[in-house]
């Protein structure tokens, strides 16, 4: 299979994830576990021979969820809940809510009261990831989730199955990291919108299939020698929650820019840091969650996100940062002013964009992106 065919498989999955997973369930007779956030132990689900599916909210029009969540609530939560209320998620066997942000905690409660045909599980993640108790506490949370999942699916998760699942997810992380490095070195090898679909596809497709496809894709895209000189593009970094608008990348690329790295949960935060080796697989999974790139819903030191962002900017020679926030994501909104100030101190221009889950990128957003790229290009002669 060549790279075009592989990318098309990820595009298809990202375009219609529910059809993709319904087909998978029919073919493999495996239970499906839905989840809402990257603070989720896919490994435990895989070890139970079930299929983990990250929900991104496919409903553009919110008709039913408005009766439960205010219009100024997180657009991702509203869209995901609309999927559930409209029956599109009736193939889920288990719905799991990692308690990442306040909205997801509340969504879990609303879901439990209104969606009755799935097993409902919560993962009460710690908020302060560097506290003394966080490691032991998180390990206990994961052990409890494992036990509850075993009961729900009437199965037993063995240590060897868990180790195998860790190897599989680490293969995906490693291959995604390779793809990102290829894109950072030669952005023309794969478009930003396709790389976004590849990452999202990894959270939708059968994970063994995804790992095989990713490794082949990384081999193929990385096999050609990189050009000696730097490409004449403005190198951008996207920072925010979930990027569900791949067309943002097309607008950026039309203006001579390229997103060469990101700080997104549909990107770097999904594949950052492998699960380490260790005597206990569950402890190792917990350890990764405490160490990986942090999300604003968690606390890991008052300036950690700013430092991580600055390190990415420096490492990947970033010319500008675009903050891409879903309406109305409070945790990212609260972090934004400090992150912007950190970048300003370093002389790195940034742009703030707010987009809505399930809605296309509108004209004013396009104008903002075009303007930002034109500002970055100001020093250069017009062509």
């Amino acid at each position: 299979m060549n790279s075009t065919e592989i990318i098309e498989k990820f595009r298809t999955a990202a375009r219609d994830p529910f059809h993709c997973v319904r087909s998978l369930k029919k073919e493999k007779h495996c239970p499906v576990v839905g989840y809402t956030c990257t603070y989720f132990p896919e490994e435990i689900v895989l070890a139970a021979e079930a299929h983990p599916l990250r929900l991104f909210g496919e409903s553009g029009m919110v008709l039913k969820a408005d009766a439960h969540i205010q219009a100024y609530g997180c657009s991702l939560a509203r869209s995901v809940f609309e999927d559930a209320l409209s029956g599109q998620l009736d193939f889920l066997d288990v719905m799991a809510f990692p308690h990442s942000c306040d909205t997801m905690q509340r969504l879990s409660d609303i879901w439990r009261l209104n969606i009755k045909n799935t097993v409902h599980l919560d993962l009460l993640f710690p908020v302060h990831l560097k506290s003394e108790a966080a490691g032991d506490y998180l390990k206990a949370v994961l052990e409890r989730f494992k036990k509850e999942l075993e009961q729900a699916l009437q199965t037993e998760i063995s240590g060897s199955a868990l180790s195998g699942a860790i190897s599989l997810t680490n293969r995906i992380r490693s291959a995604l990291h390779s793809l990102y490095r290829i894109r950072a070195a030669a952005p023309e090898r794969i478009s930003g919108s396709d790389l976004n679909r590849v990452v999202r596809g990894c959270m939708i497709l059968d994970r063994s299939t995804a790992a095989d496809l990713l490794e082949t894709l990384a081999d193929e895209l990385g096999s050609v020698n990189f050009p000696a000189g730097k490409q004449p593009v403005k190198r951008l970094l996207l920072s925010g929650g979930a990027c569900l608008h791949p067309d943002i990348h097309d607008i950026i690329e039309q203006q001579g820019g390229a997103v060469v790295w990101d700080d997104l949960c549909t990107g770097n935060r999904y594949f950052d840091t492998p699960v380490p080796d260790g005597p206990s697989p569950v402890s190792a999974i917990a350890e990764r969650f405490l160490d990986r790139a942090v999300c604003p819903a968690k606390h890991s030191g008052i300036d950690r996100r700013g430092k991580e962002l600055s390190e990415l900017v420096s490492k990947y020679e970033i010319n500008g940062v675009i903050f891409l926030l879903l309406k109305f994501c409070d945790p990212h909104g609260f972090d934004y002013p400090d992150l912007k100030a950190t970048l300003e101190e370093a002389g790195v221009p940034s742009l703030f964009l707010e987009v809505e889950s399930g809605k296309p990128v509108d004209g004013p957003t396009r104008t903002r992106v075009e303007t930002f790229l034109q500002i970055l290009n100001q020093q250069e002669p017009m062509t």
Binding site: F352, G363, T367, T371
Partner: protein, 256 residues
């Protein structure tokens, strides 16, 4: 060198011809439903005024929301870049530009050389824009030309609490029904626009000198309300409505 800037806004289409840094023609008309036709009409008007043929124009840059509909332009640039260039040309001391047009408002921060360092635009909502004023003028049975002057007569501006255009219109109708003086209502509307604009401006910071461009800069009531909220003078360039088109023409020159 003769260069042309065409600014297709949501309400009006504007154009200028510059010969070096001298404006030799300028035109404004309603955009209407066909941005391409509006641009064509503007260009013909400019050429007629200057007694030129299109082939004598060295470069054309289009800007504004309809910029990509101007087929004869050599390049399309965002209105923020063009307004900044035009404002810097007219008011070289400007470090902050407030541009309020028909359906959006923007705050632009500039360096000494006129380059844009940061900007912020209003969100999808049209509150605090020219369209908001149009709706309010209709509700008050007056036209926009007298709106600004009338508000200066007010001593006790009415409080307008809604930021939504439609809800604010309802509020205005209620105030009219209560017998509130028209100038007080208009002054309240201007204060509401100014407060919203200054809140937006504070996201990128306000550094003097402050210049204002766009159609709403013709409204002296909004300008005075902005000055009060900013506690700074607001400089209005001559022909402020043409600032984006002038900037587009200047950037066309630079690109040649």
């Amino acid at each position: 060198m003769i260069c042309c800037g065409i600014d297709i806004g949501s309400v009006t289409a504007k154009g200028v011809l510059l010969e070096e840094s001298k404006q030799i023609a300028g035109a404004i008309r309603f955009t209407g439903y066909n941005a391409g036709n509006a641009a064509e009409t503007i260009l013909q008007s400019l050429l007629e005024q200057a007694g030129l043929k299109q082939e004598q124009v060295d470069a054309i840059v289009a800007t504004g929301y309809g910029r990509n509909s101007v087929n004869f332009a050599d390049k399309a640039l965002s209105e923020i870049i063009c307004h900044a260039a035009g404002a810097h040309f007219a008011v070289p001391a400007a470090r902050t530009v407030i541009d309020i047009g028909g359906q959006d408002s923007k705050i632009i921060r500039l360096k000494e050389n006129g380059q844009v360092t940061d900007f912020v635009m209003n969100d999808k909502c049209a509150a605090g824009t020219g369209r908001f004023l149009e709706v309010m003028a209709r509700a008050l049975g007056t036209d926009l030309d007298g709106f600004g002057q009338l508000s200066l007569k007010s001593r006790t501006p009415a409080a307008i609490s809604s930021t939504c255009t439609v809800f604010a219109e309802s509020e205005v109708i209620s105030l009219v029904a209560k017998g509130e003086k028209r100038e007080n209502i208009i002054a309240g509307i201007h204060a509401s626009i100014a407060a919203r604009t200054v809140a937006l401006a504070n996201r990128v910071g306000v550094v003097p000198a402050v210049a204002m461009t766009g159609g709403v800069s013709r409204n002296i009531g909004v300008v005075r309300a902005l000055e009060k909220h900013l506690n700074l003078p607001v400089i209005i360039p001559e022909n402020a409505q043409l600032t984006g088109a002038v900037g587009a023409a200047l950037l066309a020159q630079k690109g040649k």
